[in-house]
């Protein structure tokens, strides 16, 4: 469960430069393809935005100490991996299959729960989603790229 630390060094600088690039692109886009009316708000905000973004980049370049990473931003690789598994499964199999499958596998492997508990949770989760979204709200559940029977694509 090692916390992610790869971005600690120059991550803050990269993020600040990214923000500056976004504003620079916005300024270019507004001045090349927006009408005067469409860029009224943009014109009002883009100059201070660029000035502040440059200031921030300069501050990051002059920063001598590394940023202390707040506890709420420390995600373990395992947490990110499980999130990737969930969204990957959602993309591949769709939500109807992902819910019970992910609930069961996550509780069994990540939470180390007993088989019956994990299976009961997975069944209850599937039932909840089916009852609430499918039958009550009539919201079609997102399907995956792999065609599966009974799943809306």
């Amino acid at each position: 469960m090692r916390p992610l630390t790869a971005l600690d060094g120059r991550g803050a600088l990269v993020f600040s430069v990214g923000v500056l690039v976004v504003f620079a692109y916005a300024a270019y886009e507004m001045n090349t393809s927006f009408t005067t009316r469409a860029r009224l708000l943009g014109n009002a905000l883009i100059v201070p935005a660029l000035l502040l973004a440059v200031t921030q980049v300069v501050r990051e370049l002059r920063r001598s100490q590394r940023l202390a990473v707040p506890a709420e931003a420390v995600f373990t690789r395992s947490a990110l991996g499980w999130a990737a598994v969930f969204f990957g499964s959602l993309w591949a199999l769709g939500l109807a299959f992902t819910i019970p499958l992910f609930s069961f596998v996550y509780l069994k492997l990540a939470a180390r729960e007993a088989w019956p508990k994990a299976a009961a949770y997975a069944g209850a989760a599937w039932l909840f989603i089916d009852l609430l979204f499918n039958r009550l709200l009539h919201v079609p559940l997102p399907g995956g790229v792999i065609p599966l029977p009974g799943v809306t694509n």
Binding site: L41, L45, L52, L67, A73, F75, T76, A110, P142
Partner: protein
């Protein structure tokens, strides 16, 4: 007065009352579970209000939000773990009381003072309507434009942290709000040739990504149960309830402090609790007991927590300027329901505004009553493992984003803003100014356009607009001074350590 009374009966009608009970139930549990924030839950529940009428929708959302702070105090007292960020000050005296065997008394006091605070906050909200109405009706587009800017400036300046990063996040929020077809010319802006972006970015996937996704990942990273260890017997609850009235002057003063701070955008509940706590300590006959289990400290923290909500709703409803993240999400609910905050909320939709007063009062009565009845069972809830919530939250987030347009691209947008939210937390960029600017973006643009059409740039020289600019400048000046003082103090500490 007729509208005020009639709105009570509207709230008590079916299905509004059912949705209120549902909202209170969700807020009740969320408040107790420290892994889950009130604003995040509000964001997760936003998609469910599509198709609802305004009063039932607010009964659900506001009913949920109004009780989160109430039950958040329970874990602060019992385990020294705040259920909510706004329940931190409750720990200072509530937890020492619990450790010396007075958990029941502390819980009785904090719950009852929360109820009193909520009622005072709601009463001020009701009373403020006739006072604020002439002011709101006198305002034109330039004043509303400047008020929105003032609100964002205050949120950046007063919420702590770095001013430059705060303003950049606000400006980024405005930029993201510009995505889509320009409402006046029909010109696509920042759409990158994608039809999906022509409608602009919907508030729901943005909020869920920005707030709920990082919080869920945090829950996945920490795993374990919320509370560990025994709590001891919970007795003498009624004594704590009576303490609220024995020390009524502290309860009343701290409630009013909560309302006043709630009205100021950017100050927020986290700040309010410390100001009220410090005030209670300064005015107490026994200040030395504060931090060691003072009942006055518990009452101050409890009452301020809930009274601020009534205050925070005033600028949101009357001027469309939300003062906190939760209020910005609630403003998003206004937009989803087709309501425009401002003059109409105090005239045409006055019943909706007054129903909010009743929702705050009723939901807090329900929450406090249930908490007092089910204290022991509620304690058991805190032993739920965080991992059990994770699959449920992932599904709720995904479906919340997806049901915006029944489009998988909404999930992609949620993921994109999830990454932005994570980076913002990690590198110390505040998320609240981004959200406020994103929510207020279309309104600000409309008022800017109208002001410019009516007065050209001379609208900035109108008297009220000038006064608002001066107030905003004062806020920034104050914040700059504080930032400089903090830097100097840090340098001195470093030199002293060396």
């Amino acid at each position: 007065m007729d509208v005020f009374v009639a709105s009570l009966f509207t709230v008590l009608q079916w299905p509004t009352v059912g949705l209120l009970l549902l909202g209170v139930g969700i807020g009740f549990v969320v408040g107790i579970l420290p892994g889950l924030g009130g604003a995040v839950t509000l964001a997760l529940m936003l998609p469910f209000i599509y198709g609802m009428d305004p009063i039932p929708a607010f009964a659900f959302l506001l009913g949920m939000h109004a009780v989160v702070a109430t039950t958040g105090d329970i874990t602060s007292v019992l385990f020294g773990i705040p259920g909510e960020a706004t329940a931190v000050a409750t720990i200072f005296d509530g937890h020492p009381m619990a450790r010396r065997g007075e958990a029941g008394r502390a819980l009785g006091a904090v719950l009852c003072s929360s109820l009193v605070g909520a009622i005072i906050g709601a009463a001020v909200l009701a009373i403020s309507v006739p006072i604020v109405r002439p002011l709101v009706l006198a305002f034109g587009p330039p004043e509303f434009f400047m008020l929105a800017i003032l609100g964002i400036t205050f949120v950046v300046a007063l919420s702590g942290g770095n001013l430059v990063r705060g303003f950049l996040m606000a400006l980024l929020g405005f930029l993201v709000a510009m995505v889509g077809l320009d409402p006046f010319t029909g010109k696509a802006r920042f759409a990158f040739g994608q039809l999906y972006l022509w409608d602009g970015l919907n508030i729901i996937p943005v909020i869920i990504g920005l707030f709920a996704l990082p919080e869920t990942l945090q829950l996945m990273s920490t795993k374990g149960a919320i509370a560990q260890g025994a709590t001891g017997p919970i007795t003498r609850v009624m004594e704590g309830v009576l303490d609220t009235f024995r020390h009524w002057w502290v309860t009343l003063r701290c409630s009013l402090i909560g309302v006043a701070i709630g009205i100021i955008p950017g100050m927020g509940g986290a700040t309010a609790q410390f100001i009220a706590y410090a005030h209670a300590q300064q005015t107490s006959k026994t200040p030395e007991e504060f931090g060691k289990g003072s009942i006055e400290g518990v009452l101050a923290a409890g009452s301020v927590n809930n009274s601020k909500e009534g205050g925070a709703i005033i600028p949101t409803v009357a001027f469309g300027v939300p003062g906190s993240t939760a209020m910005a999400i609630l403003l998003g609910a206004f937009l989803i329901l087709g309501l425009v905050p401002g003059p109409e909320m105090l005239t045409k939709h006055l019943d909706v505004t007054f129903s909010m007063v009743w929702i705050i009062v009723i939901s807090n009565f329900l929450a406090v009553g249930l908490s007092l009845l089910l204290l022991r069972q509620l304690v058991a809830l805190t032993f739920i493992k965080g991992t059990w919530l994770v699959p449920f939250l992932l599904v709720l987030m995904t479906m919340g984003a997806y049901t915006t347009h029944n489009d998988v691209l909404d999930v992609v947008v949620m993921l994109f803003f999830g990454v932005l939210g994570w980076a913002a937390i990690r590198f110390g960029w505040p998320r609240a100014p981004f959200l406020l600017a994103f929510v207020l973006g279309p309104t600000v643009e409309r008022y800017l356009f109208l002001s410019h059409q009516l007065y050209e740039w001379a609208f900035l020289l109108r008297p009220i607009t000038l006064a608002l600019i001066a107030v905003a400048a004062l806020g920034v000046g104050y914040s700059l001074r504080r930032e400089r003082a903090d830097r100097r103090a840090a340098r001195l500490r470093k030199e002293a350590a060396a």
